[in-house]
Symmetry: C2
Subunit: 542 residues, 2 copies
């Protein structure tokens, strides 16, 4: 049930902005939906009873149904499947990625090298699952952002935990190095070998083992692709408790091994809370069964917790039991333009207060991000050009209540100048279109040049300063320096440091190399928190 309320006309008169039409160029890939006449009506001319569904909330073009259907994802949707995703980064003509061992001063530890006898043993353990074809090994040796390249000569594709156990036992006895690999979508090089480590792929471990329709507990093999799991549980009226841009390729085992946060962290929290059990194979082949799916299990130490975020260094995760929340009956996404970063922060704070328990995501991106997704992926901004954009998602059990809460919030945000323009979507196609703008930033950046990406935690008020500082310092040497991220993961590092948040700083260069070691000195005084396994890290200067 939807509650109709009036917005004082003043809010719109005060702004008196023309609502711009959608950029037709951005939708010119043969899928351009028809524009709705009201899309270009000046806001001040809109009827007064708006908040139930104000016209500007629908400026994201509904178009003909087929235009944005999942099958026609060329312009707005995500590429389908792992190859499509990786394909975008390894298009013909892109230069070869240099070998990590040549680029960085790293030394191979005294591991053995793979012999013919080893290959024969692997073939006995995983018949048909031993890949040694150099061409087939190219992609798994290179990371997703094409910064690192290993020189592994063999990739193994087990189907079961027992096969993983046999492989690791053999490698342990033979002193062979192993690099577990899931969807190879990591941004910090953890999923690719540095030297000639054996790549242990979870790609064929992609079975759902069980799903309980009352409790929402999913038990599956580690190689299940996140998006496929999402579809699986959504058909059963649940959702996965995590979601991220790489969902089309990333594996749930890799998500757990890297303690992925992602877009639903704000609402459903950390994997330390939602992962109920793990099966892990240790380096010597021991299978550690912590797969008990009790939501609160106090019998013995909670060993599985150690493997969440351990990046495969303690063992290979082979199966996951995870608690899926019920599928919300109503999902709304608002995409808003903000005049400055201070307004982005204020919008978040207001949003938390007014949307409360239904707020499920709050993301921000800067104007350059929007330009890049437009340029490389042909995604058009659904709102007027702004210095910053925020994406707000609500998920709730009552569409009317949620619309009313969101309406009140938007009314306030517009009236107080926190937000200058916006659009809202409720149907799944439009929701996906809006999400694509945020989710596909990394993909657009990877087409822009040689990319360095940092997951930063900084004091709230300085989060965006690092972007402008680095931009100023690098000048024309950098093609683009951008900032975006999940504002929802508001964090505090030590009480004496004040209020910190996490965000992404991404720098793309025209050419590889010379500036690498000087980049972060630009932000002197800020020490940057990067992932411990981040092989692409630039030196951190205090």
């Amino acid at each position: 049930m939807c509650i109709k309320r009036e917005i004082p006309l003043g809010h719109f008169q005060a702004r008196s902005q023309q609502l711009p039409a959608l950029d037709p160029r951005a939708l010119s890939t043969g899928l351009a939906p028809k524009e709705e006449p009201e899309a270009s009506v000046p806001a001040a001319m809109l009827p007064r009873q708006l908040l139930a569904r104000p016209a500007w909330l629908f400026r994201c073009p509904p178009g003909p149904r087929g235009a944005c259907a999942p099958g026609a994802a060329g312009s707005w949707g995500r590429p389908v499947g792992p190859l499509a995703r990786r394909g975008c980064c390894s298009a013909p003509g892109t230069p070869e990625v240099p070998l990590t061992r040549e680029r960085y001063p790293v030394r191979r530890l005294p591991f053995s090298t793979v012999s013919e006898q080893d290959l024969a043993a692997f073939e006995r353990i995983v018949p048909g699952g031993v890949v040694t074809d150099p061409e087939a090994l190219q992609a798994p040796n290179v990371d997703w952002i094409r910064t690192l390249r290993g020189s592994s000569k063999v990739l193994l594709r087990p189907r079961t935990s027992e096969e993983v156990s046999h492989i690791l036992r053999h490698c342990h006895e033979r002193n062979l190095a192993v690099n577990p690999q899931g969807g190879n979508t990591g941004m910090v090089g953890g999923s690719v070998p540095v030297f000639d480590e054996i790549i242990l792929s979870t790609a064929r471990m992609n079975k759902v083992l069980s799903f309980h329709s009352v409790s929402g507990i999913l038990v599956c093999q580690a190689g299940c692709v996140l998006e496929e799991l999402s579809h699986y549980v959504e058909e059963r009226d649940f959702i996965m408790p995590l979601d991220l841009g790489a969902k089309g390729s990333c594996h749930i085992g890799g998500n757990v091994a890297t303690n992925a946060g992602g877009l639903r962290f704000l609402r459903y929290g950390s994997l330390h809370g939602t992962v109920l059990g793990l099966e892990v194979v240790l380096a010597d082949g021991t299978i550690l069964d912590c797969l008990t799916s009790l939501r609160k299990d106090n019998t013995g130490y909670d060993l599985k917790q150690l493997f969440i975020g351990s990046e495969g260094t303690l063992g290979v995760i082979t199966a996951v039991s995870i608690l899926c929340p019920p599928k919300p009956r109503a999902v709304n996404v608002a995409f808003l333009g903000c005049p400055g970063f201070a307004e982005v922060l204020q919008t978040f704070s207001t949003c938390k207060g007014m949307l409360g328990e239904i707020l499920s995501a709050f993301e921000f991106m800067d104007a350059v991000c929007m330009q890049l997704v437009g340029r490389y992926l042909h995604l058009a901004s659904p709102v007027q050009e702004s210095p910053f954009y925020v994406l707000i998602e609500t998920s709730g059990s009552n569409a009317g209540h949620d619309a009313e809460k969101l309406g009140s919030f938007l009314e306030h945000a517009l009236g107080s100048g926190l937000v200058t323009d916006g659009t809202m979507a409720t149907d799944q196609t439009k929701v996906k279109m809006l999400w694509a703008l945020r989710e596909r930033i990394a993909e657009a950046l990877s087409r822009d040049g040689y990319v360095y990406k940092y997951d930063l935690s900084l004091p709230v008020e300085r989060l965006y300063d690092i972007v402008t500082d680095v931009r100023a310092r690098l000048g024309p040497h950098a093609k683009h320096v951008v900032g975006y991220g999940h504002l929802g993961n508001l964090a505090l590092i030590r009480s004496d440091f004040g209020n910190w948040i996490r965000g992404q700083l991404v720098i793309s260069f025209r050419n590889r190399g010379v500036l690498e070691n000087t980049v972060l000195s630009a932000v002197g005084g800020i020490s940057v928190c990067t992932d411990p396994s981040d092989k692409t890290s630039l030196p951190v200067l205090e």
Copy 2:
């Protein structure tokens, strides 16, 4: 904003029950509130427009304001402070608890005994914090349910982590056994010594170290009492992510060490998700600082997770950083009577669907529980006598929306016969009165006799069977066998076992002893999951 809707009269006519008046005996401690006239109006005579605030929703007597104020907690409220709580179990006239070492076939390990030199060393480490007075040592040697008694000769009361470190280093070097103790409210004997272990109390480590009003992150010492922390953060518009009956005495450090679930688990999840950091002192005195309060911290292994639920066996938790959710603007509690356990389960399932994101607690108790809280604590049932009762709490950001959701649910539950009677409260005093019925069951049981309490996980459909089976098997040997618990902690143990849930089975005996070893054989075929440190466990028979 509250949405008024009509309930079809038939729902009430079909039931045509007299709504009984409150039992005046139960409120005869000088605090009896005045009964409201409508409390005894038959439901069928109620006006039709009920759901905004139907009359039966207010049958919990509002009474004069002073009647149920926190200060006058004698009848409905919790006793105030640790002594009041313990006092209820060690009232004059109750027989002495036998020594654990005489009751169970346990052997003291070859630890040293405390010497005069040790006491002098402790006095230097914690001046004025060494307790050796036998009378003062009586209470900390006995567990809350008065089942176990140690014979410790010394209790230490450090104020800082450094003092804890010095104490443990000394004990490590001298081979002295140590038993950490928080509020001593545990039900499984983990907080009291078995022999002459030194009791290391966190009672004086009760400082809030910091609270961040934007992120809601609280950092405090381990000995802070949960209820005091609740008051502290509630004044700042947040709530603690956990709540339990023992809140008036239990320490946050003990909550974390035992991975307490409690009444808010359903909504805010496990401490593995909400605890952001810990400071722990290891057995050799090493201070392990995992107190970083980053909401998602992927730098290195998440070692703190191992200490959550480790019952003090890996180290003594000395400080906790915890994420507090924003205080909900509206809290509603409904207390309902159900005709059978099947209806309790069905009510839960319906409730989850209809209340969605605002459902914050779902508890059940049986008729015997209600009789016992009435008999020993003079708490009256606010609803007609029923075989089962459920307590439902909602917490949300919009009172009108929440009332509408709850109203729709109650309409459905009444109409379909899942629920036969009910009352609802929104103001804090009444909410506390309703919660007391559930929270104080353990206290009432402890006055009933020699109590054995089990935290069980069983298949949903058999959870209550164990109560009736044990009741039948023990017959007149047991005074009472009762079942109650958090239905919200719905769990699944291994997919092949079906859908299990947790609940409490409590058996009280008139006399101690003879039946101890036979109780659970009554439920042959059910293997019972108890806490690993549960020193009161009866043998588990398959």
